[in-house]
Symmetry: C2
Subunit: 404 residues, 2 copies
């Protein structure tokens, strides 16, 4: 029988590998609450159904709270966080634009790559992996004629948080846009799109929002939309063109346009939106300020606990990203084997290093419901089991950290 | 209290609008079986977890069966079907490429737009909305120097299926690629990527596969990958660059590359992949040939039943797309009001026309589990209720159609 005839015939479908329970304490995805998973499994309805339009409005309103913005153009793009990066670049950067890009980790490198593909004239501002960029270096690079400055607020490859102070003012003075990757920081690290003067930003759902991956929360303010409207050529991507996506999600993005009904653009990932809506509801219920405090406390508590085993934080305290604890692995430890054992024997995922830091650091997620004492105790206990001791001291350090 | 302080405080989260049950018989999304919804709600695990790698392999293998291809580079892209269009264009078209694009409906127009954004030298071949393109017109446009021919296999805006006969041979003769949009046709209309000589194609999950929207099944053969490898400039999109995505999903796409382990590219939409895997399992269990026959039978049965109410198929019989029945609305019927009543009173979604066909046609999905007698009976009965009669005759016609 030919291969073709075989595939066309009715067949015994293969048995599918069952999905295990994991405690996700890596760089993402983060733990997903049962209520969010249950929301995913609600019945699919049409992307133009009046009820779904209501769901979109609720989701966008919750997202504005999470971003701390009044931007009407705030919506989850139908792509993952990495696709959000493409969207940021393709909408707001034109070929030949001079763009300052901060590079101090893998996600800064990716951004630089995406900007180069878009034809930008790139000005790289660098810092060592594990350190924040000096704000004065960014400001010094912001020469007249600059069109945009792009920074990674939460560098997931190194656990570094980039301070934004002074960047918005410098960008406004030069009529440049301030564009920010907040994939790992959104709702876990203080960030206010409006308060910090960010013109456009993208995030992911699978970090501090505790939603499965697959959407990219996105926001764009008036200066960014003006830039989009004034482009000489439309964005290279039809799918990510915010003037088209926005017409479906929030009506016209052009502030001078007459109000008009939503227009079909693409079929939104209906069930993922259900999940995001529920995940955002949990964020708003807790409140941003309380959530930021909790993430910081959880970060410090876990850092102290893992210090007992000899792990030391990569970033200086004042540059550390609360939702992602990057730790130098103690000398002599077979880190890959230990991570494999944590996963296999204890069902706990932590992440290793990337690029030049592979084999040298661990990246531990402190994200949303993962930033609580219980999951952290499980990790500490499992590590003590595998390392042959230290549980008592490490658990005490954890508890002390939470009580501070 | 300022707006900012208000949003930072812990709040009463708003009540979320509940999700109703719908019978989805529009142009998509299509009905999603409970086992697929339940798969979505399985626990999220890491995108690099060895178990998830196994899930990816199972999904890709099932997808090869659905596409009827041996292409290793067969995978669900982490974007919706519309994003798959962007991926097709951004990977295989370079600025200045001469490209024939068939345009006989909205999705052909979109493709032409995407090709123009990519800098292609566009050769439009047209047919009226509601008709297939004449194969001889496509062949006549395929002059020497052609780089690609792009057609919409299932034109969702008109319910027309584009014959592919002769296109692959003509393209090969000219060293051009044959690129196909099979969003609405995959698994509902006869199509063999390898048998029909298609070099690359994209689809969506929310049509005949009965999976929620959010992924774009994609396949690329050796000629397409060779073209990708020979590009003068990398694709404009970092996210959709198949040489990067492929390294995560299936290893290197370059046939000359040494085997190497999967490399992280982006965080896959883990839970959507669970859903797709289950949806594809159901497809393979039925078998492609049986599935194609069932869709054709369901299409004809419903056409005959709705003919009782005065609806007439837009496309000629030999050009009709089985999974999408586009019907001219009888004169004098307030079609928008009737669709609203079907949704509100009966929970049944059907779609109206797009562009020049708005107000003139209905588009009824005949997709996967929607292509069965039970859901069709519900639609016929609801229509008879709203139109004040005809149920008996229409239901008899439906049954007769299924018994043919």
């Amino acid at each position: 029988m030919s291969a073709r005839a075989r595939t066309h015939a009715a067949g015994t479908a293969p048995a599918l590998t069952p999905i295990p329970e994991r405690l996700l304490l890596g760089a993402g995805p983060s733990p997903v609450p049962r209520s969010v998973l249950d929301a995913l499994a609600e019945p699919t309805i049409g992307h133009l159904d009046p009820v779904f339009v209501q769901v979109m409005e609720e989701t966008a309103a919750l997202l504005r709270t999470a971003f701390d913005t009044a931007n009407p153009a705030t919506l989850p793009l139908s792509t993952t966080g990495s696709g959000g990066m493409d969207a940021l670049v393709v909408n707001f950067i034109e070929p030949g634009d001079r763009v300052v890009c901060g590079v101090n980790g893998l996600f800064g490198e990716r951004m630089a790559d995406a900007l180069t593909r878009a034809g930008a004239e790139l000005v790289r501002v660098e810092a060592p992996w594990g350190r924040a960029l000096a704000v004065e270096d960014l400001l010094a690079a912001a020469e007249p004629g600059l069109r945009a400055m792009v920074v990674i607020h939460g560098e997931t490859s190194t656990g570094v948080c980039q301070p934004l102070d002074g960047l918005a003012a410098a960008c406004r003075e030069r009529e440049a846009l301030l564009l920010v990757d907040c994939v790992t920081s959104l709702s876990g690290q203080p960030l206010s799109i409006d308060g910090d003067g960010v013109d456009a930003a993208f995030s992911g759902t699978q970090k501090c929002l505790n939603c499965p991956p697959g959407l990219s929360p996105f926001t764009a303010g008036p200066r960014a939309l003006e830039r989009l409207g004034a482009r000489a050529q439309p964005p290279r991507s039809w799918y990510l063109d915010l003037s088209l996506v926005g017409a479906y999600w929030v009506g016209p993005t052009d502030p001078d346009a007459a109000p008009r009904p939503r227009t079909y653009h693409h079929t939104a990932p209906v069930n993922l939106i259900y999940g995001l809506r529920e995940a955002l509801r949990l964020v708003v219920e807790e409140g941003l300020a309380a959530r930021w405090r909790r993430h910081r406390r959880a970060h410090e508590a876990l850092r102290q606990a893992l210090g007992v085993f000899g792990f030391e934080r990569l970033a200086p305290a004042e540059e550390a990203l609360a939702p992602l604890l990057a730790l130098r692995v103690p000398d002599g430890l077979d880190e890959a084997d230990l991570r494999a054992r944590l996963l296999r024997e204890h069902g706990i995922e932590v992440s290793g290093g990337l690029g030049p830091l592979a084999g040298q650091i661990w990246r531990i997620g402190v994200m949303g419901v993962g930033a609580r004492p219980d999951p952290q105790r499980r990790l500490v206990q499992a590590l003590a089991d595998e390392l042959g001791g230290g549980a008592g001291e490490a658990l005490s350090a954890l508890q002390a950290g939470w009580e501070q």
